[in-house]
């Protein structure tokens, strides 16, 4: 049978962000998939080198608006490690509370998008309505619905007052009841099952080989979660379960995320009830290092890694971000092979892709070498202008 190529993106109803996928089809079945990323590349890592550490926090928050707390926490943890700062326990608990609220809002958002991708828009409207409860809580705690900016180097910016604590405890039973309903829909609704079950299967060994992270890996039976394996913030003290599933298909990913909603609700309850007293921040020095640190964080989409190198000045020497979607892309390109074209949107969405996180600069240098050239800001800028300036309009 002859093969045809179908381009998806940069603008496509199935994609919420600009990214390009080239699918090779044989009839209705995808035989090859290729991702072309970089549409969202803004040059944040380089921009960090121009900013002081406290300003970097606000810039890195804007890597991604959905998991903004993940990136700031990951960064401040690395900087705190270089500085040797002892963060007060109350600040760690508040970070954990915001992190789990963020996970709930992100997973609810994903459930809605999954519903939308399989043509179940009522589900989308339901989850997004309930998500507003979480957004209200985040606004109550931090002052903003998205981009909470709760983290500072050395602690958090705002205390959690009795009003916010009460608000969380009041909202949790409602969220729990709604989660039960979503679990019922995800595991019983015949249209939902027909679209998700057995689609985009990734077996355990493949998930391990391709270094999948987060709910994608856990849905293939990989029992890995940074919160448990290498506890940060207050996770060492909080009881919770790591949700895994052996299905490996799109349905398993939905079930894992619904399960994580329950766990997050339980963790939030524990955090609010066991919130320690004390200060919420320590004052950091302006200059950091010299030194370097790697920080790991379990974002809603999987393991987020930040590397920070400090040279003793008030600006970082190098910041490197490895976001979970980048780690998951090879796996999902594999999962796309063999699915029908109509199942491509939901299979792509099943990793909860976040391309604004993904589009960092990655340079693959040959092992044991490389020219070791470092480009300055101005050189990079000139290169970008030259590269995109000289291309004809239809260039892809």
């Amino acid at each position: 049978m002859s093969r045809i190529q179908v381009p998806i993106g940069p603008q496509h109803p199935a994609l919420k962000e600009p990214e390009n996928f080239t699918l090779t089809l044989e009839g209705e079945v995808v035989v090859d998939a290729l991702a072309r990323i970089g549409y969202n590349h803004r040059g944040i890592e380089k921009a960090c080198e121009q900013r002081t550490y406290s300003r970097c926090v606000y810039l890195l928050e804007r890597i991604c608006g959905i998991c903004s707390h993940s990136h700031t926490t990951c960064f401040v943890q690395a900087v705190e490690e270089i500085m040797g700062l002892e963060v007060p326990p109350r600040a760690l608990y508040i970070r954990t509370i915001v992190a789990e609220l963020e996970r709930i809002h992100s997973h609810l958002l994903w459930l809605g998008v999954a519903g939308h991708e399989v043509g179940f828009d009522t589900f989308f409207m339901y989850t997004w309505r309930d998500r507003e409860l979480v957004m209200d809580l985040l606004e109550l705690i931090s002052g903003n619905r998205v981009n909470y900016a709760i983290n500072n180097i050395g602690g958090v910016r705002r205390d959690l007052g009795p009003e916010a604590a009460e608000g969380i405890l009041r909202a949790l039973p409602v969220l729990e009841e709604r989660t039960r309903y979503y679990q019922h829909v995800a595991t019983n609704d015949s249209t939902f099952l027909a679209r998700l079950q057995g689609v985009g299967v990734i077996p355990y060994q493949q998930a391990v080989d391709l270094c999948a992270v987060g709910p994608l890996a856990r849905a293939s039976g990989v029992d890995a979660d940074v919160r448990r394996d290498e506890p940060y913030a207050a996770y060492g003290e909080i009881p919770f379960n790591v949700i895994t599933h052996t299905g490996g298909d799109n349905l398993a990913r939905a079930v894992v995320r619904v399960g994580e909603l329950y766990e997050s609700i339980g963790m939030l309850r524990y955090c609010v009830e066991h919130l320690p007293d004390g200060p919420i921040a320590v004052r950091p020095r302006r200059r950091v290092g010299p030194g370097e640190a790697i920080s790991r964080y379990e974002a809603p989409r999987g393991e987020d890694i930040h590397y920070v190198r400090a040279n003793g000045s008030d600006r970082p020497d190098r910041v490197k971000v490895r976001a979970p979607t980048l780690a998951n892309l090879p796996t999902i390109m594999q999962a796309l092979r063999g699915v029908h074209l109509a199942d491509v949107p939901i299979t792509l969405a099943s990793i909860d892709p976040c391309f604004s996180c993904t589009d960092r600069l990655v340079r693959l240098a040959p092992a044991g070498g490389g020219d070791g050239k470092v480009w300055t800001w101005a050189q990079l800028r000139d290169y970008g202008i030259r590269w995109y300036g000289g291309k004809p309009d239809g260039w892809r």
Binding site: R42, Q50, R145
Partner: protein, 189 residues
């Protein structure tokens, strides 16, 4: 104004279908645009319906700074929207480049690439603010019936090189080479 024009204007104001495009945003504005479409805020009250194809849309809701890689696609998508077309720039980045202004791969705000009719500032703007911006756009539309950015867009020409489009304030959309910072391209801290 004749009856036909009045009828067309009425229809245009009552059913502005939107296309949402992320030109390099961090997703924050995008989820707030979607939240504005959802039951709590429900911008569909104003007749706004989210569409998947630029060819079905009247209003381009654009979020985020324009990255160099996406600029050309943005112009192409804008050209695919049937005239008269309107652009709502959501978020501080879409207005000016925001925190990313001066980054090596960022062209600047949306008006560096295509003409913009209405700006909604905020990082990200609340859904209420987005609805307010949309309502303002519709009010302006009801008054004049024309795109505030005025001129028909030159289409496939790169930037405004072919002449034609002018952003509000008389500033011509820049080509790719406009530096936002000092001579080294560095923005003052």
């Amino acid at each position: 104004m004749g009856l036909w024009q009045r009828l067309v204007r009425w229809a245009r104001v009552k059913s502005p279908w939107i296309l949402h495009f992320n030109s390099g945003a961090c997703n924050a504005c995008d989820i707030e645009v979607l939240a504005a479409l959802c039951p709590r805020f429900d911008v569909e009250r104003l007749g706004m319906l989210l569409k998947g194809s630029p060819r079905h849309a009247d209003v381009l809701v654009c979020t985020g700074p324009v990255t160099r890689q996406v600029a050309r696609r943005l112009r192409r998508i804008y050209a695919q929207i049937p005239a008269p077309r309107f652009v709502l720039a959501v978020g501080t980045c879409a207005a000016s480049g925001g925190v990313f202004r001066g980054c090596y791969n960022v062209l600047g705000g949306v008006d560096e690439a295509i003409p913009v009719d209405m700006y909604v500032p905020g990082c990200p703007p609340r859904p209420d603010a987005i609805i307010h911006g949309a309502a303002q756009l519709l009010a302006a539309l009801a008054r004049s019936g024309e795109s505030a950015a005025g001129q028909p867009y030159a289409g496939t020409a790169r930037g405004a090189a072919g002449g034609g489009a002018t952003a509000p304030g008389g500033r011509a959309p820049a080509g790719d080479g406009q530096p936002a910072g000092d001579s080294e391209g560095r923005v003052a801290p």
